[in-house]
Symmetry: C2
Subunit: 195 residues, 2 copies
Amino acid sequence: MRTLEFWFDFASTYSYVAAMRVEALCQREGVALAWKPFLLGPIFTQQLGIKDSPFNSQPARAKYMWRDLERVSAKYALPFLKPAVFPQRSILAARVVCAAEGQPWLGDYVRGVYTREFGEGHDIGQPDVIKSVLLALDVDAAQWLAAAESDANKLKLRALTEEAGQRGIFGAPNMFIGGEHFFGQDRLDDALAWR
Amino acid sequence: MRTLEFWFDFASTYSYVAAMRVEALCQREGVALAWKPFLLGPIFTQQLGIKDSPFNSQPARAKYMWRDLERVSAKYALPFLKPAVFPQRSILAARVVCAAEGQPWLGDYVRGVYTREFGEGHDIGQPDVIKSVLLALDVDAAQWLAAAESDANKLKLRALTEEAGQRGIFGAPNMFIGGEHFFGQDRLDDALAWR
């Protein structure tokens, strides 16, 4: 069985669109899915020397991106509401993914967080928002939040972020399959078709 | 009849893929095509404060782009050979498009220049390369090169570049149709489907 590694940051706008679609597409194609959270912040700092989203320093690109995201969301029948805060602090949301690796509800959690952020305009940097996603999944929210904040789990996310840089990642989302790297939500279908 | 404006720079890698496909797709969809050449250099200088391609200051992004361009070219059965020089000086190639607006051979000229550059690895900054494209079209190369270098025609390209900035362009290629702006070769089909 082929495996698609999906490398994403909850702060990334275009990762929203791909993250909402990737699990169903993998199931349809008979491809295993590995969720790989990482943080774009250290990548941008290392590669671009900036401490913010590149969109925030390029008003023309940002203006286009928000309109495009609205259009692409409509294309795939995904809810869209531009959040007031961008980029959002995604570290806790990502740590929960690290802690919950292999859990059957992980895909629902990822889509729940993204829907709160870009579908409903909430701030996922607020721990209560992450907690509300876990509660909606009927899992022990307090247990998973504690597991997310353990030292070993924090190191796991840091190691994934370092690996992302080593793998040639410079943005999000990314799909790795069959030794190939695909960047951007618009390459998801190409990635799944890759042989 | 709807019109698709195709805003491109001959120096832009992903514009190659879209430029090779756009005329045939427009004909199939019954959409008029307006070729709109402009220069990315002044846009990057104004928006990013750089004098080079953004790819050249981000090695990870550049490495990915060249591999992706090879893959996308194969997907559309386009020849691909990475040129030794990047980005190339595209001003003369673009001025010929300005001078030849409305000529029936314009699409063949655009595809001829791009094929020399990204299909065969030649340097389109060399006037002889542009001349060879014109000669292959069986048009008066000397006449069109002279028309390209007229003061009025130089101002035409400059005005298009200024308009590009005013229209919110920050890269290439771009498609404008029905009041919507689409950026990137991977949005060509979405642009043509837009209603």
